[in-house]
Subunit: 185 residues, 2 copies
DNA sequence: CAGCATACGATACGAACCGTCTCGCAACCC
DNA sequence: GGGTTGCGAGACGGTTCGTATCGTATGCTG
């Protein structure tokens, strides 16, 4: 659909806030009414463009052929590089802004950023291989990692090269307290 | 300043997207020009209202008088309860949307949600008391925790009662690979 | 093929805000 | 008491909103 491509083009060019139905209609060579006929709001239009895959580039699927820690660090590095890329930074901020208006966008964004099947599968494989305890709450781990990415997008804390390793190491328990300390609970 | 209070009132009532300078001016009994004279944009106005403390309620300072794990779980429970509260949910979404337009809002929100001095101090005390190894990257831990909160706000993953414990336990390394055998029962 | 329904492009419309500008008016400073 | 300054008020041209109304093109039905 020409409308979705126009939406994607204008979204990438100027962001969600500057996106107007009139502009999309003009760019797509379409009457405004045609857009209002099929989509109830701007955010639904963006959500559909995102789901149709015309908005975000395919996430590069990491290789996942090393140890759990190495694979996760590599994945985190790739995602942070993507997120820090100036070209995508604005787009991601805009997507987050759009998420607050339409939960479907948030869910899709979360999938694209990391809750996607590959990462979960790698963690599950980690459990099978004994790299993670069977009790490891994979969903919570993914949430923490995706969250760290979101914080990075909205608040941009200063971070150096080692940040990816640190985040993964925290989540993998490298900084676990001594057992007796933890068990004093 | 009456303008900041009007901003806060309208922000809470209808959110960032529906906030208009004209509306604020009318509500505050003020000329539009007066607002434009002092604030360059809507988001700066919101940022100042947030910083002035007229926008968000004071975060209840947790007691922090137990073990590290107990204190963190209690803190996480309090924050998640706040975030899940329907009344604040919309406001927080709006604040996140505003963050994408103004980094100062994002930083302030991050502080309010958890990177605030109290939490960092508790973690540092954990290091002193030997509850955490000296090498523990406190900033990264805080980022992960705040991130989990953000994910919750924008994507609202399903979560049950135990989520707070799980998140804290992951970050404290309870699911560390090294502890695999010990943790199995 | 005739008749008709439907989706379309285009465009007009009133409403809401935008950001700028220009008024008087009051308070304050020498 | 003259001059300055910041203010409330609101006029102004623009933009976009969401709705309504055209005439047209396409394709189905009989």
């Amino acid at each position: 659909m020409a409308i979705l491509h126009a939406t994607a083009r204008l979204f990438l060019a100027r962001g969600f806030a500057q996106l107007s139905i009139e502009g999309i209609a003009a760019d797509a060579g379409v009457g405004k009414q045609t857009i209002y006929r099929w989509w109830p709001s701007k955010s639904d239009l963006v959500a559909e463009a995102l789901i149709a895959g015309v908005l975000m580039p395919e996430q590069v699927a990491p290789r996942f052929d090393g140890t759990l820690r190495a694979d996760l660090v590599q994945w985190m590095r790739a995602v942070l590089a993507f997120v820090d890329h100036p070209e995508y930074d604005e787009m991601l901020k805009s997507l987050i802004a759009a998420s607050t208006a339409n939960p479907a966008i948030g869910e899709r964004l979360r999938e694209n950023l990391g809750a996607d099947a590959d990462l979960v599968r790698r963690l599950e494989k980690g459990v099978e291989d004994g790299e993670l305890p069977a009790a490891a709450p994979i969903a919570s781990i993914v949430e923490l990692l995706v969250g760290a990415i979101l914080v990075r997008i909205v608040a941009r804390p200063e971070a150096d090269d080692g940040e990816s390793e640190r985040l993964i190491d925290v989540v993998l328990g490298r900084y676990a307290p001594e057992h007796d300390a933890l068990d004093r609970t």
